[in-house]
């Protein structure tokens, strides 16, 4: 997993609420057995017509946002299916950070496993950043994970909360499984004890 430290980039505004993972990556692209290559189908049904041509109005098709690295989104981003193909598609497109007032649980944790930073901010802050994002390539938003801040193009800075463990893993690009395997003796003793107390499991 790539580290996430700071990022200054173009932010695409997506004010729609309840953007679900079926929208982010429709099911026909879940047949892959790989993690890569999903970026071209990110938001597929919103982004392309049935004949494969681009829908010009869709934000990521607009010239200003083709290189967006941040999405500023409406409430409850990433709800629905648990598919990790959603963060894989975002990452493959080049998105490293999503800012919203709230995220669905599974999507939120999936982001951290893939070096994407989901930032939760209060509604006023998201509204301000949304307006900023609408300025297109003229406005770059800066996200600093170490300092836990998001800075709009006008210099307005917002602090965000983040779980210290998740922050540590993201800053250092750490692999969860490797970390957990360091605790393998705790797992062994838990299993030994559970095989006595709940032998039917």
């Amino acid at each position: 997993m790539d580290k996430f430290t700071t990022l200054t980039g173009i932010a695409a505004p997506m004010p729609l609420v309840n953007i679900d993972t079926d929208m982010i990556i429709p099911k026909q692209f879940l047949k892959t057995i790989k993690r890569s290559g999903l970026g071209k189908n990110l938001f597929d049904e919103m982004r392309y017509n049935a004949d494969g041509s681009e829908i010009p109005d869709f934000v990521l098709n607009q010239p200003a946002y083709r290189k967006a690295e941040i999405i500023v989104a409406g409430d409850n981003f990433g709800c629905g299916s648990s598919r990790e193909h959603a963060p894989w598609a975002l990452l493959d497109f080049g998105i490293r950070c999503v800012i919203s007032t709230s995220f669905a649980d599974i999507f939120f944790s999936n982001c951290f496993k893939n070096g994407i930073l989901p930032v939760v901010l209060p509604p006023e802050a998201v509204a301000h950043l949304m307006e900023d994002a609408k300025k297109g390539a003229n406005a770059r938003i800066t996200v600093d994970l170490e300092a836990q801040t998001v800075t709009a193009s006008d210099g307005e800075t917002y602090s965000f909360d983040i779980d210290p463990f998740k922050k540590h893993c993201l800053l250092n690009g750490l692999d969860d499984i490797g970390l957990t395997l360091e605790k393998v003796s705790s797992i062994d003793s838990f299993e030994a004890q559970a095989s006595l107390s709940r032998p039917w499991v």
Partner: protein, 468 residues
């Protein structure tokens, strides 16, 4: 000892390690695996030379992608990509030595139906699966939730998950349900009341007389959609009905182990005075048969209602509601009962169990579906299918004009050939009415099996109470 909720008790029994900041390593008792979200996880194990830590606690079944037509044994019915994915599961299950129900096994079916049916799901367990509807298993008083593929790999390698504890939420449904009102109406009504983010950060415990009165099938329907309300998981305390359902299942404990298990299971309830961070109470008698009108499961209304206008909403929901109305092709003010449909789908992990098929068949008996209607029943597992055939339900569906399919997810997410065409409108017993969920441009109205059956007969959304 302080009073604990059911969630607290199950959580406490599974903590392997706790860091100072509250991050826990949680032990996982059952790991269910299907073909769509697991190939990258197994590949990850292979690349790092890791093994599955507890293959005996890992159960794999293909369900999302497999065709449900009777000719599916013929590989040509699958697209190349789907076939590769199912073959990858075959290969991974064998190579890593996990329990496996291939497509040719009568026990194959939707992973959330197979788990309970085979007795893999037991009270007090932690159950995970790379699928958001893992919440279903909460009906047994098991802490069950969906995970992403990286977490699938983590569980395969370590039999644990890194977790922080959620908050406790209680959803109480008091009193009795009125005739024609089902578990599906309860769970949709709760989401209608709390919104799709209402449960975010919480584990919900469903309780109250109306929940107690539900069968295990009904309880699974309720917990199944906890995720649609944003919750990490849904739970219902186990009781005599739970124990009766579990007893004698192939992987349920037997003999002395059964007695020991039962003793522990009977302690799995929320203590008097335990703290809930959020409480929602609905009166059972206030719940009507409901349908969804929009493209979010929170867009719920009683069937007697009318299509809302975007201006009925506030904030970001105004734009979302307008988008839904446009997508669904509906005009504000029209009666929901006047919405014509052309497809009916009965099945999915929400409503693909035997009781669901009985409820639909009870409405369909001696009737025919509307001319030109496409209607299908996709049983949740091969065993549900066999039982429905034995009970004569299959014949009722076939006589009414339904297609009688093999088990799988089918048109719930339309990864296989069962899809809606653009603009087609479907009465579905599944759980998601998202844009394009059942096929690009397809329009989905969620409802109970009995309501879907009623709509199949009349050709429009229908109040099932008029047909009872």
């Amino acid at each position: 000892m302080t009073a604990r909720t059911l969630y607290d008790k199950i959580w406490d029994a599974h903590v392997v390690h706790q860091d100072a900041d509250g991050t826990c390593l949680l032990y996982i008792d059952r790991h269910l695996v299907h073909e769509v979200t697991s190939p990258q996880a197994f590949e990850g194990l292979r690349m790092t030379g890791r093994k599955v830590r507890a293959p005996e606690k890992t159960i794999a079944v293909p369900d999302h992608n497999v065709p449900t037509t009777l000719d599916r044994a013929n590989a040509a019915t699958m697209t190349e990509e789907s076939r590769i994915q199912v073959e990858a599961l075959d290969k991974n299950a064998k190579e890593f030595g996990v329990h496996y129900y291939p497509v040719t096994d009568v026990r194959q079916g939707i992973v959330h139906i197979v788990g309970p049916e085979q007795g893999w799901t037991l009270p007090g367990m932690t159950v995970v699966c790379g699928d958001s509807h893992t919440a279903t298993h909460g009906a047994f008083g098991a802490l069950a939730h969906g995970i992403g593929t990286s977490e699938v790999e983590h569980v395969l390698a370590t039999q644990t998950l890194i977790q922080k504890k959620s908050k406790n939420m209680k959803v109480e449904i008091t009193g009795k349900l009125r005739p024609g009102v089902t578990a599906k109406d309860i769970t949709l009504s709760v989401i209608g009341a709390t919104g799709t983010a209402g449960g975010t950060g919480y584990v919900i415990e469903y309780c109250g007389e109306a929940i107690r009165d539900l069968s295990m099938e009904g309880r699974m329907t309720v917990c199944n959609m906890a995720i649609e309300g944003g919750a990490r998981a849904g739970l219902i305390a186990p009781d005599e009905k739970t124990f009766a359902y579990v007893m004698g299942r192939p992987h349920a404990p037997k003999g002395a182990q059964w007695e020991a298990a039962l003793t522990w299971w009977k302690t799995l309830f929320t203590d008097e005075g335990a703290h809930f961070d959020k409480v929602v109470v609905l009166k059972g008698e206030d719940i009507a048969p409901v349908v969804t009108w929009g493209t979010s499961p929170e867009d719920v209304l009683p069937i007697t209602g009318t299509v809302p206008a975007a201006s009925d909403f506030t904030g970001g929901k105004v734009e979302a509601a307008q988008r839904s109305l446009d997508y669904m092709g509906l005009t504000p003010g029209m009666k929901l009962e006047d919405i014509k449909i052309d497809t009916v789908f009965i099945g999915s992990c929400t409503n693909g169990r035997i009781e669901d098929l009985r409820a639909a068949a009870a409405i369909l008996k001696g009737k025919k579906i509307k001319d030109g209607m496409r209607a299908m029943v996709v049983p949740g597992s091969g065993l549900v299918r066999a039982q429905a055939e034995e009970e004569g339900l299959a014949q009722i569906f076939i006589d009414a004009g339904f297609e009688w399919r093999l088990a799988g997810c089918s048109m719930c997410l339309a990864m296989n050939p069962d899809q809606l065409a653009p603009g087609e409108r479907c009465a579905a017993t599944s759980n998601r009415n998202f844009e394009g969920r059942q096929g690009r441009g397809g329009r989905t109205h969620l409802m109970s099996p009995a309501m879907a059956a009623a709509a199949a007969v009349t050709g429009h959304l229908t109040d099932v109470r008029e047909m009872m």
